[in-house]
Amino acid sequence: MNYRVAYLISKKLSEEITENETQELNDCLASDASLYETISLLEIAWKNNQEPATETTERIQKLMAQLRIEDDSPLKKEKTTFEFSRYRSALPAGAFRFTGKWLAAAAIALIIFFTWRFFYPQTVDNDMVAQRENKVETKAGNRTKVVLYDGTLVWLNGESKLEILQMNEGKTREVFLLGEAYFEVHSNPSRPFIIHTKNTRVKVTGTTLNVRDYPGEEKAETSLLSGQAEVFAVANPQKIVKLLPNQKVVFRHLDVQGNKESSVMPSNPLAEVVSEIVPVAYYPFDSLPVEKAWVNDQLTFFDESFREVANKMEKWYGVKIIFENKTLEQERLNGKFTGESLEEALQALQFMLKFNYLIKDKTIIIKQL
């Protein structure tokens, strides 16, 4: 059989043969009668399709349950809208600290907004996924949203892990979080919702809050946006911090000299820890709490050291950032990124601070100018 005949037959079988082609095929048949049998067999094979298996009611019920969760979601899905404005504005001088000679203008803070571009092809689809197994994990650079069985919504930031310890039965709902997550806890006063992190415990009943406790970072924090929360550090369980809305508690590790600057939360959670309550910072232009910005795909930092900003960028972009110059690490920065690529973000930071950077694969080296 030559290719042309096979082509015509395949078009006939898929019911997409044109009139001219039908004519051509008929001419072929006229000159080679054996084709009739071949075509018949091919047609029989082609039409030989099994019916799909019938549905189990179990599957249908599972699907219907997912639909209910979807419908009952207390939060209408927010379509992320991206700002196309580009402007700078000033913060009151007391809200931040800049050091010395790198500063361009002493009393003015630059908050720079950039236009959106799809900067990272791996951002997870914006749709909610219903909780399936007991664990959700993200890699650096990915974020995800989950609905838990009790109706609680969780947005998980990059390089994070959420594990369900107890949800369906029992007097409490308990999860374990590694990394950062924003929770909208479904209100149930008779069943408190408890979040365990490496260094802290948070207890709420019906609340929106952001919890951040990454391994290898110097602080663990919980920001309460609405409702009530009780938080304590594992190292210091007697000191229960009761948060009111718009309060944030930051736990830091105290090294032997009582020096707050020591770098990393110890791997042994039972070390000396101090806590500090600060107000949740809001951007004055939209009523967006700084901690929640990542939920809307914005990377923000508000009076944070370059090292802290770099930590956020590492999880956001899935890279490693090393500082060649220790002083650069301590510089304080304010900023908000909405969709910048890694390079654009670094260049934006260079507006605020003088430094150079070198990109090698997935590692960025920050150097002196």
């Binding site: 059989m1 290719y3 096979a6 082509y7 037959i9 395949s10 078009k11 079988l13 898929s14 997409e16 049998e37 071949t38 018949s40 067999l41 091919l42 029989i44 094979a45 082609w46 030989n48 399709n49 099994q50 799909p52 298996a53 019938t54 549905e55 599957r59 249908i60 599972k62 699907l63 219907m64 997912q66 639909l67 979807e70 899905k77 092809p121 791996q122 997870v124 689809d125 749709d127 996924v129 219903a130 399936r132």
Partner: protein
């Protein structure tokens, strides 16, 4: 899939969009679930993931039920949604926005011999199944989507990110191979005395 199928879909779409008719929605689910799962499976190689993916697709359909009657080609829409969810969902495809058709793991239905053994006897069915199993991956994918799933050439082209010409070409190759195998079988066998 038969010619009157698109009429069915239009009716279901209308009922779902205007009346939030769950029964119509379930008809849709029952109709497509199995085939879409096979398609999802071919991309992510996991039956469990495939089930979850198709479920997510339908949850999304329900979430957008108010405008579902504005979708002109529902079948194509479902396949493309399944493709996209599969790519997002499955672990080892995270690096690419498009999957490589060579990565697909396609499970085809075997041709069954017909009961009267009149035309399609067991040996013939066996031969045809063998040929199909040995088709190159992209050819197999196209063959499956057209033959088993009843998609048009243009639709397959869009789903697999290929040109319609490629789709037609691959189908011709599949048919040619099957025909040649049948032809060999049909050659009169010399009797040994």
């Amino acid at each position: 899939m038969k010619m009157n199928d698109s009429a069915c879909f239009a009716e279901w779409q209308h009922r779902i969009a205007v009346h939030e008719d769950e029964e119509a929605f379930l008809h849709l689910y029952r109709y497509f679930r199995h085939r879409l799962e096979k398609f999802a499976f071919s991309i992510c190689h996991s039956k469990q993931d495939a089930e979850d993916i198709v479920e997510d697709v339908f949850v999304k359909i329900w979430a957008g039920r108010k405008t579902i009657d504005q979708v002109l080609n529902l079948k194509l829409y479902l396949y493309i949604a399944t493709r996209n969810f599969s790519i997002n969902y499955c672990k080892f495809n995270q690096r690419n926005e498009h999957f490589d058709p060579y990565d697909l793991k396609i499970e085809l239905q075997d041709i069954a011999p017909d009961p009267q053994q009149q035309f399609m006897n067991a040996e013939l069915a066996e031969i045809i199944n063998e040929v199909i199993k040995n088709l190159p991956t992209n050819c197999k994918a196209i063959y499956k989507l057209v033959k088993e799933d009843g998609l048009k050439h243009k639709e397959v082209a869009e789903i697999l990110h290929l040109s319609p010409k490629t789709v037609e070409n691959q189908l011709a190759i599949a048919v040619k191979r099957i025909a040649l195998a049948i032809g060999r079988e049909k050659k009169p066998k010399t009797k040994k005395i």
